[in-house]
């Protein structure tokens, strides 16, 4: 341990005041008592008695001061020792950098990351340069210059990750976080503490999890694709089947294959959302056209329902992630169909409402009982669970939809009346484009 930064006082303000008061009280008592003792003595002895009294006063006060200082110091040392051993015992590496960019403290865990302990006593820049040299090009921290200045001026700096090899040559990922060391009445930052946490294992698990999700998607969706595809092929070879029953069976196979694919998407989306791994990249998209295409591809969902799209009169542009929004729209339309089992219309409207684009999906089905409307966007929450007319489901669709819409900076909600049907709506940021750009919209996607 180099340099000792100032430690907090061992005695509290109250303790100090009490000590001073006790000392004053003792002084007064001494004077009064001394006076009472000296006065009855014969006059020729009095000067000597006064001298002795004064010498005694000096001796007693010196001794008292010494004892007080000794006890205070001992308490201070105990406190310092306690802090030191806590710091040294920490699993995270801790390095304190003073306002001149010099390392002023470092704990034992920090030693694990440096080849040479001397680096923990010199300029922070040299320490960082050495850490960088130990590994591949990481997203390198610059915690001597700008980060130090930011922290000292009261700002914050996000944690950074550094890839390196530790003292034993093990490849590791260190997460560095930066915070101020404050002191004094105004709590001004006077140094910076850098905490280095070994997140190698965490990163490994994250990678494993991502790989698993990607593999799960592939493994689950491939059979769904094969099932649906072969059903479509049968239908193609014998349109309508050899008889109406066979034709219906083909349709069911196709529909259910499609559904299986979407359920898989849904479950994977839940995992991704919960792990914070859902990527949403909103771009300016022409919604009126996209929505028309999506609705057309959803018409096959139910022979009993008519999807009625009421497009806006003008092109509607919004900031949205087309793939994610398609997922949400398919979800809401699927719900509208599922909760109006007798069939009928599902009406889809799109329009602009000030700064927002608003999309509404309306059905005239069973609606949601008032006492079951709360929390329907929560995970696994199913408004109709346990009711006679419950059409089943996983209870994840609305949860995923809300999360996706919110990540696109939109809102989602509904109005519903039991027996009358429901209207689910969502909004997205309106993103009008200059007229000359309207027809120029390149997105990657399959034509046809």
């Amino acid at each position: 341990m180099v340099n000792r930064a100032s430690t907090p006082h061992a005695l509290s303000a109250r303790d100090r005041l009490l000590t001073i008061l006790a000392f004053v009280a003792f002084g007064i008592a001494w004077m009064v008592l001394g006076h009472l003792i000296v006065r009855p003595l014969p006059p020729e002895v009095q000067p000597r008695a006064i001298l002795i009294r004064q010498l005694l006063w000096v001796a007693v006060t010196t001794l008292t001061l010494y004892v007080a200082l000794y006890l205070g110091r001992r308490r201070e040392r105990a406190l310092e020792g306690e802090l030191q051993s806590a710091l040294q015992g920490m699993a995270d590496a801790v390095v304190v950098v003073d306002r001149n960019g010099q390392v002023s403290r470092a704990n034992a865990a920090a030693l694990q990351w440096v080849q040479n302990a001397e680096l923990l006593r010199g300029p922070a820049a040299a320490l960082l340069a050495s850490l960088r040299a130990q590994g591949p090009e990481g997203r390198a921290a610059t915690w001597t210059g700008e980060v130090l200045q930011t922290i000292l001026s009261g700002g914050t700096h996000p944690p950074e990750e550094l890839e390196l090899r530790d003292r034993d040559g093990r490849h590791a990922i260190l997460q560095l976080s930066f915070s101020p060391v404050r002191h004094g009445p105004d709590q001004r930052p006077y140094a910076m503490v850098v905490v280095g946490r070994d997140i190698t294992e965490l990163k490994r698990l994250e990678r494993l999890r991502d790989q698993f999700l990607a593999t799960a998607a592939h493994e689950l969706k491939t059979p769904a694709a094969a099932m649906k595809g072969y059903a479509q092929l049968l239908e193609r070879w014998t349109p309508g089947g050899h008889n109406p029953r066979e034709g219906r069976a083909f349709q069911v196979l196709i529909r259910q294959g499609e559904r299986l694919g979407r359920l898989t998407d849904e479950l994977l989306a839940v995992s991704r959302l919960q792990l914070g791994r859902m990527r949403v990249n909103p771009k300016r998209e022409r919604l009126d056209v996209l929505l028309g295409e999506w609705i057309d591809s959803l018409r096959a969902l139910s022979p009993l329902h008519t999807l009625r799209y009421i497009p806006p009169e003008q092109p509607v542009w919004a900031r949205a992630d087309a793939g994610r929004l398609e997922h949400v729209v398919a979800n809401l339309i699927d719900n509208a169909i599922k909760y109006s089992p007798a069939g009928g219309d599902v009406e889809i409207r799109l329009g602009v409402d000030g700064e927002e684009v608003r999309l509404e999906i309306r059905d005239w089905g069973m609606g949601i009982p008032a006492d079951r409307q709360e929390g329907i966007f929560e995970l696994y929450q199913r408004a109709h669970a346990g009711l006679d007319e419950d059409p089943g489901g996983l209870g994840v669709g609305l949860y995923v939809s809300r999360a996706l819409v919110e990540q696109m900076r939109g809102r989602i909600g509904f109005e519903s009346e039991e027996g009358e049907g429901s209207t689910f709506w969502l909004t997205l940021p309106h993103a009008p484009v200059p007229a000359e750009e309207v027809d120029h919209d390149a997105t990657i996607g399959a034509p046809g």
Partner: protein, 127 residues
Amino acid sequence: MTRPSVLLVEDDDDLRELEAQVIEDAGWRVWRAREGGEALELLERHGTPGVILLDMRMPGMDGWAFSRALHRRFGNTIPLVVVSAAEDAGRWAAEVDADAVISKPFDLDHMLGTLEAFAPLEQPVAP
């Protein structure tokens, strides 16, 4: 008259056969490959197809490695369509500079429409 051909790269046997059947029924010739290495061999042997349908996650040479080799050898001359079940299919397609993406489970008509856009059948042959 030569029919345009489609190089189909897919590791799942059932899916590959399904896609091949549908594409052949519609009139294209199909070259089947289980992974990128086989696909490259076919390209060496038969020349350039009208379009390539590429699965991304495959044992052996995956879609990324295949498209790198493809672009090194042929540049961007052969239309490349990514067929994937992955959530990131769109991003992957962009990574390998694909011309289009089809998500699984796909619709057969959609797949044929995509093929028609890149390798049109001049004279459709009845199945």
